[in-house]
């Protein structure tokens, strides 16, 4: 493959100042247009890895490159990244449209340009009717949609999502999962998605990276060779169960070696 990879993680390691070894040296390459999911139990360092990719945390060792440049220079590559947090992290005092416009305001985008982009982003997540609402007037799922709209409004090419739907009920989560896939294919995004749900990982990803805890490390990579668009019927197909089983076995094998430690 001669194209430039979107994300390169080169022997990246993280040790917190208190001595916790959050992540053993990790190597990972994500190609443009991939949907890669980091799957693992709590404490496996998946969020840590994602935050290091975003530049929110410095690695203790190793290098992270986005389109062959360090994260601070991502603008020079013509690419943009957006980060969607576990919680909606909206400003409670600002209306939905102002929340979505925030990254544009921070970047100094003029209002005439920002307005239409905010409207587009809200339409993409199906919230155009709620532009004037306050976050507290929305359900958890809708707040998360606002958060995603805020991530999309900057027209990113790389979307990093840290367990974005973890706090939602299963029905809402499934709906948002399939909406996310629609956006991913429509916008030709590269996505790195963190979750601890095996089913979410299988449903969404082109590739699943299985991680294990204590110490945090990569265990295995599983390619999900199923065509898109993936409808609800994919969730109940035999292929789906087979992948789920494979991931589950992989997680069990990884934790089995250190089962005693995992309990402490």
């Amino acid at each position: 493959m001669n194209e430039v990879p979107a994300v390169e993680v080169l022997s990246v390691e993280k040790t917190y100042p208190n001595g916790t070894h959050a992540l053993q040296p990790v190597n990972l390459t994500v190609q443009e247009g991939e949907f890669v999911t980091l799957l693992g139990p709590s404490g496996c360092g998946k969020s840590t890895l994602l935050k290091m990719v975003a530049g929110l945390l410095p690695p203790s060792n190793g290098r992270l490159l986005l389109w062959r440049k360090p994260v601070e220079q991502i603008e020079s590559t013509g690419h943009r990244l957006s980060f969607v947090f576990q919680e909606p992290t909206l400003m409670p005092w600002a209306r939905v449209q102002s929340n979505v416009r925030l990254p544009l305001d921070l970047a100094g985008v003029p209002a005439s340009e920002a307005g239409p982009r905010v409207r587009d982003a809200l339409a993409m997540v199906g919230l155009d009717k709620f532009a004037g609402a306050l976050p507290r007037e929305l359900s958890g799922g809708m707040q998360m949609r606002v958060s995603i709209a805020r991530g999309l409004v900057t027209q990113p090419t790389l979307l990093l999502m840290d367990e974005p739907f973890g706090a939602l009920d299963e029905i809402t989560r499934n709906k948002l999962d399939s909406d996310l896939l629609d956006l991913w294919s429509a916008k030709k995004l590269t996505v790195i998605f963190v979750t601890h749900s095996i089913y979410e990982a299988v449903y969404l990803s082109t590739r699943v990276v299985v991680m294990a805890a204590r110490p945090g490390r990569l265990v295995e990579e599983v390619q999900i060779d199923e065509p898109y668009p993936r409808g609800p019927e994919f969730r109940v197909s035999t292929a789906f169960s087979r992948y789920a089983k494979q991931l589950q076995d992989s997680l069990l094998r990884a934790s089995g070696t250190q089962a005693e430690g995992a309990l402490s």
Binding site: L56, T89, M91, A94
Partner: protein
């Protein structure tokens, strides 16, 4: 009321009698207690024939308030002027100090103990000094009242400016927000609920500070404020007037508090949990 209320509450308002409505209860029950207490007081004074220089009847207090209206309301105006002036000074100073504290840990570490020192030193103890040092009597009273009202504003605003949702903080940092953008778009809005909490406490303290300072300044020729009227009435055994002045101070304090609560509701009502009264 029921006609203009939003659709979801119409049904419940129509179905419930006046007495069951919370907004009516909030006014009705305290008023009922007031009427009962005042009635009891009036009855007690009349029934036991209590001399007016010991405890005047509520009726007499009201009559005095009307008869001495010119004197008392003039005094109220003086006290109110000092209170409001001190309150504004405390707010401005407190906010500036809080901003300084948040900008640098060194400044906060160095100065915070002195803010506490200011708070724990009884104003009665330092008021005489201030009154001696500052020539202008009004200014000296304003300084005393400001000192009393300052600390809650500093403490609350500092806490508020620091109480930023860590997720939002990360989001702003991820988007390379400048220091000014962080302050203006994140820290200040996050601090508002705390700031208004500080205002509510401080408005009452400014009044207390003003009254205490007037007491200390006393008959020394400075004041014509309400505290001075209370002192004078005490010397003259004009107890009804003393009660009337006391009543004015109390009502002023309540009104100040209510004004701050209203302002807070106006500013935060739509978004903050503390002001939102429905789910």
């Amino acid at each position: 009321m029921a006609e203009s209320a939003p659709a979801r509450s119409t049904k419940s308002t129509r179905a419930t009698p006046l007495l069951a409505r919370p907004e009516f209860q909030r006014v009705f029950y305290p008023s009922l207690v007031a009427v009962l207490l005042i009635g009891l007081w009036q009855w007690w004074v009349t029934a036991f024939d209590i001399p007016r220089f010991l405890v005047p009847s509520p009726l007499l207090v009201a009559q005095t308030l009307v008869a001495d209206a010119g004197l008392l309301f003039g005094a109220l105006f003086t006290t109110l002027k000092i209170t409001v002036f001190a309150f504004v000074c405390a707010t401005v100073l407190g906010v500036l100090i809080a901003f300084a504290f948040v900008q640098s840990r060194v400044i906060e570490t160095a100065l915070f103990p002195y803010a506490v020192l200011l708070q724990v030193t009884p104003i009665v103890a330092i008021a005489p000094l201030i009154i001696i040092w500052v020539k202008n009597p009004t200014a000296s009273l304003v300084i005393c009242a400001t000192l009393v009202a300052l600390f809650p504003i500093i403490a609350n605003t500092t806490l508020g400016l620091r109480s930023v949702n860590p997720g939002l903080m990360s989001y702003f940092k991820l988007n390379r927000a400048s220091r000014l953008q962080l302050l203006w778009r994140l820290r200040i809005p996050s601090a508002l609920p705390y700031f208004f909490g500080g205002l509510r406490i401080s408005s009452g303290l400014a009044l207390i500070g003003a009254v205490v300072a007037e007491f200390v300044a006393g008959t020394g020729g400075t004041g014509t404020g309400l505290a001075y009227q209370i002192l004078q009435s005490g010397y003259q055994l004009n107890i009804p007037r003393m009660f009337a002045a006391l009543l004015l101070i109390t009502v002023t304090g309540v009104l100040l508090f209510a004004a701050m609560a209203w302002l807070s509701k106006l500013a935060l009502g739509s978004w903050h949990e503390s002001e939102a009264n429905h789910g």
